[in-house]
Symmetry: C2
Subunit: 198 residues, 2 copies
């Protein structure tokens, strides 16, 4: 083990990353300015760059942290439930809680970069990739439902996965627009009708 050389860092990097995540969550990638980021850590730019490399690298780390912590709960709920329907309901209810747990609300993976300058296309691509993984997890759960006979054999997995991901996007967007918990939860029942037999 190489012992720590040089002057030790004056702040907790893990805690700092958590705060960076909060700032990116609240303001989006481009809306989060270096001022906001460094102020949230209580540190000057050189320390920020020494610890995280660049704004984009910090964003990627923040995204990974978000996926591992905040975003993981709804997807775990999806898998843990006994039935597909209960799993999707739990996932969507979890998404509502996530969307309300920060101001101004919504999912970082969905809202973090929507429009961006060409310079920041890489950050957008990183989020797009994360969203695709979300859809894949929903598809996996649906596939399990077909395998164990809960859903009919001819079920269009991709279509339903995209649909329920669409409901998550709607929850995020409406939370960002100031919807209440009751309003967001009210989106779930109509959506679950998509599982009804023909």
């Amino acid at each position: 083990m190489a012992t720590a050389r040089g002057r030790p860092r004056g702040f907790d990097r893990d805690l700092a990353l958590e705060r960076l995540m909060q700032v990116f969550w609240a303001k989006g990638y481009e809306g989060a300015q270096l001022n906001d980021l460094t102020a949230a850590i209580g540190v000057k730019p050189p320390s920020f760059y020494a610890a995280f490399g660049s704004k984009e690298a910090a964003f990627r780390e923040a995204i990974d942290l978000y996926i591992a912590t905040i975003g993981a709960a709804p997807m775990r709920a999806l898998d843990a439930a006994a039935t597909v329907r209960a799993g999707l309901r739990a996932m969507l209810e979890g998404s509502v809680e996530v969307a309300l747990s920060a101001k101004p609300g919504g999912c970082l993976l969905i809202l973090g970069v929507v429009n961006c300058l060409p310079v920041n296309e890489a950050a957008r691509a990183h989020l797009l990739n994360a969203r695709r993984k979300t859809v894949a997890l929903v598809a996996d759960r649906l596939r399990r439902g077909v395998a164990n006979g809960e859903l009919p054999a001819g079920t269009d997995i991709a279509r339903l996965a995209a649909f329920f991901h669409g409901i998550m996007q709607a929850i995020s967007f409406q939370a960002r627009d100031g919807a209440t918990r009751a309003e967001l939860l009210a989106l779930i029942d109509p959506a679950l009708r998509a599982l009804d037999p023909d």
Copy 2:
């Protein structure tokens, strides 16, 4: 009628506004830089400012034009159809066409400003207001459906209106993420299940 005094404008203001709308549509409010806007008209900044006042004023005009032209078609289709179900289907299909009719896709009212700097909060508020009007139009159509007996008397109008607006948001987001026409249209049938009787 006061006759035109002074040097006449060297470009067609209406055509220019249409091009500004296209740029805002493609890049969003903050993503559309003055460079892009003036280049799209073929004009230098002072002419832009003489004609439109400011970037934000131009955006508001572009939004109004979008609502009156592009955005009006789905809402007209909603009203023109014989039944609520057919109207909602036509509205959503129209939204798909709108979302695919420009690159990189999606609705200007939904995606034009998502994250923004505090300075640009007014532009965001302008779009938020336009979205509320969309929801109100859907609610009106649902109310007509209750009035003529097509929907049950106890129907939760606000809930369903928010839900179908959520589907429009999902269409916009997924179009922006590169979904095909078939994928976007596949969101509609599951959504219309929300109208099924209990």
